[in-house]
């Protein structure tokens, strides 16, 4: 691994401290009462007798994944993705472009690979560059940033704003889509979304089976 020490032009680092200062440390206030690392199993919601209330509770649990920065950062409300646990605008500045793949000359694949890539550069806040073969932004009609869980819930059920998906296709997407699955494997330096994709898929499936009710707020 001696190549790691073969850095030439280390002095150049000081030329680019401006870029480094844009990368503020990750920090979000977490509700101490909410377990943000795990998901309650779908079966545990059977104790809620009222089906509508059960459905809402299932979606609220799934919301711990849906509203996590790992998911929302690529469902931005503008054409610029977000980055990090504090959801700041993506640095360097990149924009949606055709198919959510970036602009000509600055596409996602200029930096992102098919896999998460550990970095060798000296940045306290960047341990790896995230990657996935399908890396791209969600279409603007699927924007989640700045929305309440209730609004996102209605949006997910609306074929005009969910990519024309049936509810069965939503379950399939949430449970098995590879890019969705990246949220549980986000690479060094990033907090994964809670639970597992299988548990998340079961919550969404149980939510749909119980009538896909949405929270009031």
């Amino acid at each position: 691994m001696n190549w790691k020490f073969a850095i030439t032009g280390v002095a150049a680092l000081c030329l680019f401290v401006g870029a480094g200062t844009l990368l503020s440390p990750a920090s979000v206030a977490q509700d101490a009462k909410t377990d943000t690392k795990t998901l309650k199993p779908a079966a545990s919601f059977q104790s809620i007798a009222n089906e509508r209330e059960r459905s809402v509770a299932l979606f609220q649990e799934a919301g711990k994944v849906i509203q996590h920065p790992r998911c929302v950062n690529c469902h931005p409300a503008t054409d610029r993705p977000l980055q990090g646990a504090n959801m700041h605008p993506h640095q360097p500045p990149v924009f949606r472009g055709d198919g959510g793949m970036g602009l000509p000359g600055m596409q996602c694949t200029t930096c992102h690979s098919a896999d998460n890539t550990p970095v060798v550069g000296q940045a306290d806040t960047i341990k790896s560059i995230p990657g996935n073969p399908a890396w791209h932004l969600a279409p603007i009609e699927m924007a989640w940033a700045g929305k309440s869980l209730a609004q996102i819930c209605q949006q997910i059920k609306d074929p005009a704003r969910n990519g024309g998906k049936t509810m069965d296709e939503i379950v399939e997407h949430m449970a098995h889509d590879e890019l969705v699955g990246w949220g549980w494997n986000p690479g060094a330096g990033r907090e994964p979304v809670p639970g597992t994709q299988a548990e998340f898929g079961e919550l969404i499936s149980a939510w749909v089976k119980s009538g896909a009710a949405c929270p009031a707020s």
């Binding site: 691994m1 190549w3 073969a6 850095i7 030439t8 032009g9 150049a12 680092l13 030329l15 680019f16 401006g18 870029a19 480094g20 844009l22 990368l23 640095q91 360097p92 500045p93 990149v94 924009f95 472009g97 602009l103 000509p104 000359g105 600055m106 596409q107 694949t109 200029t110 930096c111 690979s113 098919a114 896999d115 890539t117 550990p118 970095v119 060798v120 550069g121 000296q122 940045a123 960047i126 560059i129």
Partner: protein, 152 residues
Amino acid sequence: MVTFTLNGQERTFDGDPDTPLLWVIRDFEKLTGTKYGCGVAQCGACTVHLDGMPRRSCVTPIATIEGSEVVTIEGVSGTEADAVKTAWTGLDVPQCGYCQSGQIMSAVALLQMIPKPTDADIDGAMAGNICRCATYHRIRAAIHNAASSMEG
């Protein structure tokens, strides 16, 4: 063992598969025109063309480029590269020069994709190439000049 093409010549690399392409280019191939600025895809100094598209070589593990074509500042050629070279020297774009090979690789790729880019196209393609000397105005003017020189 990774086999790839570097500036038109077949090359192999037999070291750690995680070695960044930038290290291979600079330290093993001794092509030092491509620069190291940040190592974390934040500055653009290490930009090369990978299969015809701009790519940050500092975040490109060598194992991922098996069979690919890599072009660096030393090997970039063609109509767009010639136009960029003339426009760059015409306006004396570089100041310290450190960022410039990355700037030029991004500019050539932009012109290959969009022969007559607007200011917005230039902003979009060049936003990831930081210049500590702030030569941005000359870079923009030189890209427009290069585009004009390629017309007709």
